[in-house]
């Protein structure tokens, strides 16, 4: 299986390098992401999970990995379709020089590759390495635009996450040593660690958990390691922002979840969940307060990503993994919708300043609709996919700690307030704006598709999905 995948990937890379036209590169990228999206579907339908790639068990796709790959594939697929028009727009505006397009698509596909490999890593240090690679590749993607601020943003991204990730590596070293001392077999393979977790010294396990947490928290923008996220997500081209926000951020939570599964059942499980909870609440609080500053549309969306990540941490701490996993998928869809729409707004007004977005319904009705539906969805309105996870996670949290549930609810209210402000602004701001900017149809398709998906998933919760989610929870051993 590994050979099939690798050959597809090599073919993709070669095709990109050799391709001579923008469209060609785009088609290859779309193909690649379709392939990635279908791959886990194939595995899930066939029921061959976990799929072992190599006998070292460094790369194993289990249900959780397949689920995350599926989300990644879908997000990359939409972004690839969107990129066709968006890249053309960027070139037309002179924000992206033609010479950089190849680098852009190369980075795009490498990022997808790194993501897939990260989610297929059973060995935690391999996961760490691929997570690092996603940082580097994302930084390259951010700086392909012709703007100096992007370099600064990328710099922040690289330095803040990489320094924190080094602490994660220390955590891995300690975990490795702990597994050697505890069970005799030194390994960083996650499945083996999970089996042996009761034999590992709990204090040591907790110690390494804390360090691993630091790095991956930085990767997913948890306060106080989040400071890179707003600049880099808001400065990147909008299709890249989609990738970063909808998909790359998931790696951090994914890794934290895996390692948390190791420590949760030990005698230090309570401390671990308390720590995660504290970080989660602080994150949600700071992010929702920051969202109130109504200056930059993409920054608002970026802070809302921070808030959502914090919420996922809270869900993990509250022990409601089932709904956290559903929330991950819902968040990816909503974030993609928001950033896609913001991209069109950016093209229309040439800026992301909220004060300049006037008469958007007349100029870009689809983008306005996307932003409004995205905003309504992300604040957890009923009949949208974020509602059920929010309710159940808050319920679990109220069981664990009443006080934090109240605090969380108030913060969520503040966050919702800023999105409603955004909706009001979009609906009400009229003004003599320029002519409508011509938007390529390929930029509209993903927005329409995502709106449809959100509506469908809001009204209908597919039963197989519930089975898959439950399977992942039992895989992590965090059920009940």
């Amino acid at each position: 299986m590994l050979i099939v995948i690798l050959s597809v990937l090599i073919a993709v890379m070669l095709a990109i390098i050799l391709s001579r036209s923008l469209n060609m590169m785009n088609y290859v990228t779309v193909f690649h992401s379709v392939f990635v999206a279908l791959f886990p579907v194939y595995l899930l339908v066939k029921g061959v999970l976990p799929a072992v790639f190599h006998k070292s068990r460094y790369l194993v796709v289990d249900t959780l990995g397949a689920y995350e790959i599926l989300i990644t594939g879908v997000i990359f697929f939409f972004a690839a379709i969107y990129a066709k028009g968006y890249v053309a727009c960027l070139i037309k505006e002179g924000e992206l020089s033609k010479a950089n397009v190849k680098l852009f698509y190369l980075g795009y596909n490498s990022l997808l590759l790194a993501m897939v490999l990260a989610f297929s890593s059973n060995n935690l240090s391999v996961l760490w390495i691929f997570a690092e690679i996603t940082t580097i590749v994302s930084a390259v993607l951010i700086v392909t635009l012709n703007a100096k601020e992007n370099i600064v943003a990328a710099m922040k991204y690289v330095f803040i996450t990489s320094t924190a990730m080094l602490f994660s590596f220390i955590g891995l070293i300690l975990l490795f040593a702990a597994s050697k001392n505890g069970s005799g077999a030194a390994t960083l393979n996650w499945d083996a660690l999970l089996q042996a977790s009761h034999q590992i010294q709990p204090q040591l396990l907790f110690f390494s958990f804390v360090f691993i947490f630091i790095g991956f928290a930085a990767k997913s923008g948890i306060v106080p390691f989040h400071t890179w996220l707003p600049p880099s997500h808001s400065k990147a081209a909008s299709d890249v922002s989609v990738l970063l926000s909808g998909s790359v951020l998931n790696i951090g939570i994914y890794a934290i979840l895996r390692v948390y599964a190791l420590v949760a059942k030990s005698s230090m499980g309570h401390e671990a969940s308390m720590m995660v909870l504290v970080f989660g609440i602080i994150t949600v609080g700071i992010a929702s307060l920051s969202m109130l500053q109504k200056t930059n549309l993409k920054k608002l969306i970026a802070y809302s990503s921070v808030e959502s990540m914090g919420f996922m941490l809270i869900g993990i701490a509250a022990g409601n993994i089932f709904w956290v996993l559903y929330f991950v998928a819902a968040h990816a869809m909503v974030k993609a919708l928001l950033f896609f729409s913001a991209g069109i707004i950016h093209r229309q007004y040439g800026s992301m300043s909220m004060a300049e977005i006037k008469g958007v319904f007349r100029l870009q009705p689809l983008a306005a609709l996307g932003l409004i539906i995205g905003s309504v969805a992300i604040i957890g309105t009923p009949l949208f996919p974020m509602f059920m996870p929010k309710f159940y996670i808050i319920a679990s949290l109220a069981k664990a700690s009443l006080f934090s549930a109240i605090i969380l609810l108030l913060f969520l209210l503040i966050a919702a307030g800023s999105f409603v402000w955004l909706i009001l602004q979009l609906v009400t701001m009229q003004g003599a704006a320029p002519e409508p900017y011509e938007i390529y149809p390929s930029m509209k398709i993903p927005i329409l598709a995502l709106i449809l998906l959100l509506l469908v998933f809001g009204a209908y919760f597919p039963l197989p999905l519930s089975g898959i989610l439950a399977e992942m929870v039992s895989l992590l051993g965090l059920g009940g």
Partner: protein, 652 residues
């Protein structure tokens, strides 16, 4: 199964109506809007039918619907049927009223959008009441909040509407937050999401659930001190919407309170006292604030607060008396509260609708600029008068009956063994009585200034009577107001037989029949005796040659004595700025003086919170918006050091 079918087809019709209205957002023909409204009217009639069939002795309906993988059970028992009946009634008349009103709303899109949201709004309210599943309740509750938010924002071009919208949203979401919290607690401890089976809550948790439910529903109902959104949102939205919101939506919150209070186990004494305090303060402050209001719709909004207070007093009394195990009196209080709920829904919707007609005819909400509308809009005036009599609790209309029932409950507080509690109740009684009196005064002012005397502005002079649909919509409500008052004795005889208690009400039918008879006799007698010559002459105006409207008694003048009495409640702020030409402040250059009413709750409760949040947010923005990299690295460094210290302490 006919009632169930009625209900379901009502839901379906509303869904279709809202969907079609969205699809045909741009359609210009008013005929198609009539069709949408016909659908809504039909749906309301169906709801009414199903509710009546339950109320008149049918069994509770129970069915379910699937909602994103969730089996939401719906059930219509007597309580739910009562509220669905209210929604159906008010919805029906509002929809009829809108048949012509909607054409005045603005652009085509706005009209169609308003109808679509109205359908969703009515639908969501009905489903909230019918829902017997906590999550379903939340879903529909949110749907109700959001559709009503859109309705408030119909006139979004105005700055004040936008402000009202954001204020309304924040308050309504705050209420949802408390509800989510309470429901999460119930779910955790009772282990179920079904509303009917809340059991096994530990005492502390039960109290917590009660408090957060009281807060959540209290905010939505507009109880003081969470009332601030009402006087903002009602004037901002179109009148039929105000009628729906004030007449029905805040009643849905009352439904929530009643429903959960009936269900919650081991009730405490202080729960009842809390509700009583909320009720009394809302009633009294609501009416006092209403007195100084010159914006017609805002005045009505403050009266909604007052009446919610009265309803809450009833609920509080119910809880108190049932704690003291006086079930008969408690039940009387509950019936009084529920009956007042119905009555308030009727007369407040009526008042809002007639206010809408008036505002539409005069293009102003300021009552100081109205006057003399009795002549130009006679029907509207008569309908408003019926509403005003009803809200002032004058016999023989329905408002009188429900308040009378409450007074009866108060008077029987002697049965309570604790003298302290009796004293408290008598204190509440005195405040309640004051409220009733002030409400009457306020409506003398409202009716007098708006409809009597001479018009005070061009617009008022030019006002025209509104169309037949608008009159019909109000007339339904007015007839019900009269009917429920006059036939109250007969109705409550029936109800008393069913509930097994007896109501000690005067037979208003007899009284009013007698009154009408006597009145007719006097009228005929006077007409027979007097000569028929009509003499038209001017009233003596102290010798001033011509009288004009500026000589009339104004609203400010009318309410001034009362304002003086309550001046300690209306806190005023005096601003006096002067500037001078010279340094010694001798030669006066210009000056500015104003007397501001201090908005107490805004200044001391809402704004400090807002300021704190704003301060925090701008501080965070400054901190997080630096160009350099180093501060951020420093922050992660410090965080890591802190984690290290924590590890050093935690692992020993």
């Amino acid at each position: 199964m006919m009632p169930t079918l009625f209900f379901q087809s009502g839901v379906g019709l509303l869904l279709i109506a809202s969907f079609l209205a969205l699809v045909f957002l741009h359609v210009k023909q008013s005929r198609i809007r009539k069709c949408f409204l016909a659908l809504i009217i039909l749906a309301c009639v169906l709801f009414l039918a199903s509710s009546l069939s339950v109320l008149l002795g049918g069994d509770a309906l129970a069915f379910y619907l699937m909602l994103s993988g969730l089996r939401v059970s719906l059930s219509i028992d007597v309580l739910a049927a009562f509220f669905i009946g209210i929604i159906g009634l008010v919805g029906l008349s509002v929809a009829i009223y809108s048949l012509s009103y909607v054409e005045h709303v603005g652009s085509e899109r706005k009209k169609n959008f308003m109808l679509s949201m109205m359908a969703v709004f009515i639908l969501s309210m009905v489903l909230v009441v019918a829902s017997h599943h906590l999550l379903g309740f939340l879903v529909f509750w949110e749907l109700m909040s959001i559709s009503s938010l859109f309705l408030v924002l119909i006139d979004f071009e105005k700055e004040e509407t936008r402000k009202a919208g954001i204020f309304y949203f924040v308050m309504t979401q705050l209420s949802t937050v408390f509800l989510i919290f309470a429901f999460a607690l119930i779910y955790n401890h009772a282990g179920t999401l079904e509303i009917i089976t809340i059991r096994g809550l530990p005492p502390f948790i039960a109290s917590l659930v009660f408090v957060s439910l009281a807060l959540g529903f209290g905010i939505k109902a507009g109880a003081i001190p969470f009332h601030k959104w009402l006087p903002y949102a009602h004037p901002a939205s179109p009148s039929p919407i105000s009628a729906l919101m004030s007449g029905v939506m805040i009643k849905v919150a009352i439904y929530g309170i009643v429903r959960f209070i009936l269900l919650l186990p081991d009730k405490k004494l202080w729960w009842g006292i809390l509700i009583l305090i909320l009720g009394t303060s809302s009633a009294l402050l609501g009416v006092i604030y209403a007195l100084k209001e010159h914006d017609l719709k805002r005045l009505l909004a403050y009266h909604s607060i007052e009446n919610i207070g009265i309803i809450l007093i009833g609920i509080g009394l119910y809880m108190l008396f049932s704690w003291y195990s006086q079930p008969a009196i408690a039940l009387l209080a509950l019936f009084a509260a529920l009956f007042h709920t119905l009555n308030h829904a009727l007369f407040k919707s009526l008042l809002f609708l007639s206010a809408g007609s008036v505002v539409h005819a005069t293009h102003t909400k300021n009552i100081e600029k109205m006057g003399g509308l009795m002549k130009t809009m006679p029907y509207t005036a008569a309908l408003f008068l019926i509403g005003a009599i009803s809200i002032s609790a004058l016999p023989p209309l329905n408002g009188f009956v429900s308040e009378l029932m409450l007074f009866q409950v108060f008077f029987s507080s002697g049965v309570i063994a604790s003298p302290m509690m009796t004293l408290v109740l008598f204190f509440a009684l005195s405040l309640f009585a004051l409220t009733s009196a002030l409400a009457a005064a306020c409506f003398v002012k409202a009716f007098g200034i708006v409809f009597l005397a001479l018009p005070r502005s061009k617009e008022a002079e030019m006002a025209k009577e509104s169309g037949p649909a608008m009159i019909l919509g109000q007339a339904i409500l007015a007839v019900l107001c009269i009917g429920l008052g006059v036939f109250s004795f007969q109705i409550f005889q029936q109800v008393g037989q069913k509930a097994g208690i007896s109501f000690d009400l005067p037979n208003l039918l007899l009284i009013s029949a007698t009154a009408v008879f006597i009145g007719a006799v006097i009228f005929i007698a006077v007409r027979g005796i007097s000569n028929r010559n009509v003499r038209i002459s001017e009233t003596w105006g102290c010798g001033i040659a011509s009288q004009n409207s500026r000589m009339e008694y104004t609203a400010s003048g009318f309410s001034d004595p009362i304002l003086t009495i309550f001046s300690s409640i209306y806190r005023t702020k005096k601003i006096n700025r002067r500037s001078f030409h010279d340094h010694d402040s001798a030669v006066f250059k210009e000056g500015h003086a104003e007397v501001l009413l201090l908005r107490f709750f805004e200044e001391y409760l809402y704004l400090p919170v807002v300021r704190l949040i704003r301060f925090l947010s701008s501080f965070l923005y400054k901190v997080q918006n630096k160009v350099e990299l180093d501060p951020y690295l420093l922050s992660s460094f410090v965080a890591i050091l802190a984690l290290l210290l924590y590890l050093g302490v935690a692992i020993r």
